[in-house]
């Protein structure tokens, strides 16, 4: 035996080394508990490599800042003017969105909906990657001592990019959503279909577990569903690039991530998120009152005109003017769906907030007659409320003819 080992010394050594590594692999594969500690060898490797990356990224940013902030100022005045104009436009837009968002929150409050709010984020710079096409991870310049923990969501202004996989003292490793081992609970914005977002070995992003019979349109936005308990609900992930019938019973849906995963520089780590009821100033109003506020209104008339109108219109007008409540209650079911995606913190880009605001506007601003379907966003038109005219017969259903469907249960 000893002779054989001596004779085939090199081959024996090879077999021994391979055996040890396979044993090591076997142990790692078997230990799948989530709370396992980071292996010391990873800590050593990361500690040996990342300081150099930090230094180079720091120098790179220093030089770039010096150049762009002190020397290369061409076009800055024009850009400044453009940005000021943009701010003015956005301020106007903000007022409108704020009203919508406030209203959505009041509805959430009334429906007992608890939203998940991003209460704390940490900005970090990307300093490195795995360097392999087989593993799509990146390294951040912030770690455990900055408050980063395992499984924290990582986003950019454009959308979700991944979650924290391993945490070291001053760095952390992030698993990108295009890695084949990643998985994100998602929901399609329009069709409300849920699925699991994951990467392919080729680096593409797909949406899995959507049944073949469902209709999915290209361009539809994909949001986090919150079902994975890692990512808060309503964050933008990307858009549907292509949907086709898959080989099994699920659709093959290709997703275009909103964030450019190949060129990440700065990211935000969501270090704290909490469940809370929406904060609203006025909590005493009923849902129907809030929705009634949104309905088109008739300009106030003088008292003498009012009394004349009532005399002329008789019972028809009385019936129609009180018919707002059933319409409002019929549109309530749309509200929790749209309101669910709200949530965020001031100053933190959260696509869910915009979506919530826009969607709530869609759902409740236009009083559709006899239907509770969501309609295109449109400013309320006072002239649409022509019920005061006794010559025009109203088609608006009475509360008895169109029973309001039960509101959706908040998720």
């Amino acid at each position: 035996m000893e002779n054989i080992i001596t004779r085939y010394r090199n081959a024996s050594f090879l077999v021994a080394v391979l055996f040890v590594q396979m044993l090591m692999l076997g142990v790692q594969v078997k230990r799948t508990d989530e709370n396992r500690s980071t292996r010391l060898i990873r800590v050593w490797a990361v500690d040996a490599i990342t300081p150099f990356e930090k230094v180079i990224v720091g120098i790179q940013h220093g030089v770039a800042n010096l150049w762009y902030e002190y020397f290369y100022l061409r076009g800055v005045r024009q850009e400044n003017r453009d940005l000021k104009q943009q701010i003015e436009r956005m301020q106007l837009e903000e007022v409108r969105l704020k009203n919508d968002a406030d209203q959505a929150r009041r509805l959430q409050k009334l429906l007992g909906f608890k939203e998940q709010v991003i209460s704390k984020v940490l900005a970090a710079q990307v300093i490195g990657s795995s360097g392999s096409e087989r593993s799509r991870v990146i390294y951040l310049d912030k770690g455990a001592r900055d408050g980063i923990g395992r499984d924290m969501p990582v986003i950019t202004a454009e959308g979700v990019i991944g979650k924290v996989l391993h945490v070291f003292n001053s760095t952390s490793e992030v698993l990108l959503i295009d890695d084949q081992t990643s998985g994100v609970g998602t929901i399609l914005e329009q069709s409300r279909l849920q699925g699991v977002l994951k990467g392919t070995p080729g680096g593409e992003v797909i949406l899995d577990k959507v049944m073949n019979g469902e209709q999915v349109q290209s361009g539809e936005r994909v949001l986090t569903s919150g079902g994975d308990e890692i990512f808060p609900k309503g964050l933008l992930i990307g858009t549907v690039a292509k949907a086709a019938h898959g080989p099994e019973s699920f659709l093959a849906i290709s997703i275009k991530p909103a964030a450019d995963l190949g060129r990440l520089e700065e990211v935000l780590v969501i270090t704290k998120k909490e469940q809370q009821e929406p904060e609203v100033a006025d909590t005493n109003s009923r849902a129907v009152d809030i929705l009634a506020e949104r309905l088109p209104s008739v300009p106030d008339k003088k008292p003498d005109e009012k009394s004349a109108d009532i005399k002329n219109q008789g019972p028809v007008a009385a019936a129609t003017t009180t018919s707002h409540a059933p319409i409002a209650s019929a549109t309530v079911p749309g509200a929790p769906k749209t309101a669910n995606v709200a949530g965020g913190v001031s100053g933190v880009p959260n696509p869910g907030i915009h979506k919530a605001a826009a969607a709530s506007a869609d759902g409740v601003t236009k009083p559709a007659v006899g239907t509770n379907k969501q309609t295109a966003p449109e400013a309320p038109k006072p002239e649409t409320k022509t019920v005061a005219n006794p010559d025009v017969p109203t088609t608006q259903p009475s509360p008895q003819t169109v029973p309001a469907p039960p509101p959706d249960q908040p998720q």
């Binding site: 090199n10 080394v17 990356e53």
Partner: protein, 172 residues
């Protein structure tokens, strides 16, 4: 044909200083981790593998090649999210194989280096794929066109890289 069969006596065996032995693989791993952040296409290259092949062929000692491949591979594994040992096993075998080949063949010229790098790159990928699927259960897809393109790309940069690293060689 650039690859020539040489007798044991004709083969030059080189050695490297300790700083070179440590720093060159570390620099290769560092570049491999850092450059793709700014230039994503760079992930097609495998600089640590090229370094393993270079040291193995130059030293012509299978155990040294095996250990170099093993250590470089495990460090590289540490930077990925995958279990430790995937790159380790693949690079161990490549290091051993390249050293063994270096004993038998003269792989000092550019053409030989190009072919040897291409060959070992494909071997490396097959090993990695087999271990990842067979032992770890990762769902990986094999694509011959992609692997061959990568093999050529790595072989192309291996030629100047090896010429650069030749400067650190010391005769025994």
């Amino acid at each position: 044909m650039p690859i020539t069969y040489t007798s044991q006596e004709q083969i030059e065996v080189y050695r490297f200083g300790l700083p070179v032995t440590i720093i060159v693989p570390l620099v290769a791993i560092f570049l491999q981790a850092f450059v793709p952040v700014r230039f994503p296409f760079f992930a097609i290259f495998d600089l640590p593998l090229l370094v393993v092949i270079f040291f193995a062929v130059a030293r012509r000692r299978p155990i040294a090649g095996l250990l170099t491949g093993s250590i470089v591979g495990i460090v590289q594994d540490s930077l990925t999210g995958n279990p430790l040992g995937l790159f380790g096993i693949a690079k161990s075998v490549v290091g051993y194989g390249a050293s063994s080949l270096g004993v038998k063949l003269d792989v000092e010229n550019a053409g030989a280096r190009f072919l040897v790098t291409m060959f070992f790159y494909v071997v490396h990928e097959i090993l990695y794929f087999s271990v990842a699927r067979g032992l770890v259960g990762l769902s990986m897809q094999w694509s011959w066109p992609h692997e061959l393109r990568s093999a050529v790309a790595n072989a192309v940069i291996a030629v100047p890289l090896f010429a650069l690293l030749d400067r650190f060689k010391k005769r025994t």
